[in-house]
Symmetry: C3
Subunit: 201 residues, 3 copies
């Protein structure tokens, strides 16, 4: 299995896991736990593909991810308990930061593929990176966390998306542009987390 | 008028009626009452068709349903009062269970038509059956009922959708697969309601 | 710059500004302020185009509007303070009423272009006119204002949309139909605001 496949699965699992936690906190049943986890993991990419009119959707052609989340949801309660003992908060933040970088840049690249203008492409990157969590919070009847906690999260995705766009414009190799920008998002996110930075209100 | 047409109209009316009740409970005005009823009745199928990229949408080619809900919304207040005297809770639950069965199986069939993989097709069945109510609750600023009350509703749609998929796979006639699975969902739903079953949390 | 372009920009700015105010009231950060303003300004047209399957979306081909909202969001806090001193509530209501008329009729015309039946076309007009605000309120975790305040807003859009449809049916010139209906919506909205009318509940 390639490295990118492993990171992709990790990022989806982190999304699903954050959905599990939020759904359980809202005392949802099995149906809610599965749906919220699914929306958190795939909501960003799905929103982007609806706006760009791309089909088939990622999770449609890769039904193994939906099946995986289904079986994890069946054992969400013991899973959360176990993971809380085994997995530290630091590991979750790291995996989520890797996912944010990867998904955001994949979103920009996909928007460029669809011939979107450059600012819209950067927005699609951010949407892909953050809208899973936004939809999770809307379904859970909360004001989306990413809109109100003042922590640099969408901002990291935005800056990294522009880094990718500029690298491509000035002739960097596609691979270098992709990996360095995704990594920049992850590093910015982790640094701002470690330093507990806030953006202005 | 064919039997299936009558059942279809009944199911849509039940959806609209549940929207009326929820919108009135939230003290919405005429605009809210119509919109919430419309979303409850057609939200599930619309969500499925957006995800599958099918057009035109059902309610677009059958504008008579939108018009019907419009005129019912105009008299929602007296209508709810009258129906509460004439229609028992049992009748609403039965009509809703018939609608759940019919819409879910129609959703699976439509997903198979669009060459979706099998697990995704079963998800599309459940989405068609339940997302009207989910969107209704989101618009009404509630955590969706179907995600938190622990009653078998989505689960019935899920099991029935798989029954349909397996019957088709093992060579049952399309008509038999469709009707027996839809009926199985209705029966499961009514039985779990009569027995007041809960699914695990 | 043509008159219609100026009105269009004004209407989008009014939408964005109402998003700014709501997002600030909810104590959102920069990311929330931009997103909510964007959703309020473009949510109605985007929802219509998703339902009609029209692409590219308006704000995709006109990225200058997204960029404008981005820079306004950067200075939303001082902007709101300044505008509150310079701009009276009356001016906001007038600009918003012009936007409602224009966007609603643009929505009906776009639905007719896509060969929608007549009642659905009138619904698309209303959706284009009001769904920006509906989505803004959902993201801000409120029951949508337009569904519950009992003031004629969607109703004005609905009546004006039918006026447009009837004028076209009975042979009025396209330009006359468009401008007189849009103006009728604006006048109805302003009159009902001045008279503080309520629709029945």
């Amino acid at each position: 299995m390639s490295l990118i496949k492993i990171i992709e699965i990790m990022a989806i699992l982190v999304g699903a896991f954050s959905g599990f936690i939020e759904a359980r906190r809202k005392r949802m049943d099995l149906v809610g736990v599965f749906t919220v986890a699914f929306i958190t993991a795939f909501g960003g990419g799905t929103m982007r593909d609806l706006l760009l009119d791309k089909r088939p959707l990622f999770w449609v052609t890769h039904q193994e991810y939906a099946i995986l989340i289904f079986f994890l949801a069946l054992m969400a309660a013991p899973l959360i308990r176990t993971l809380r003992q085994v997995v530290s908060e630091r590991m979750i933040v790291i995996a989520d930061a890797i996912g944010l970088g990867l998904f955001s840049i994949a979103g920009v690249a996909s928007a460029l593929d669809a011939h979107m203008p450059i600012f819209i492409a950067s927005m699609m990157g951010v949407i892909t990176g953050i809208f899973g969590g936004v939809l999770r919070d809307i379904v859970c009847n909360e004001v989306p966390m990413v809109f109100r906690d003042g922590k640099p999260y969408a901002i990291c995705a935005f800056i990294g998306s522009w880094m990718f766009l500029l690298l491509k414009k000035y002739g960097a190799s596609p691979d270098f542009a992709l990996w360095s920008s995704a990594m920049a998002i992850t590093v910015m996110r982790l640094a701002s987390w470690a330093l507990d930075l806030r953006i202005m209100r």
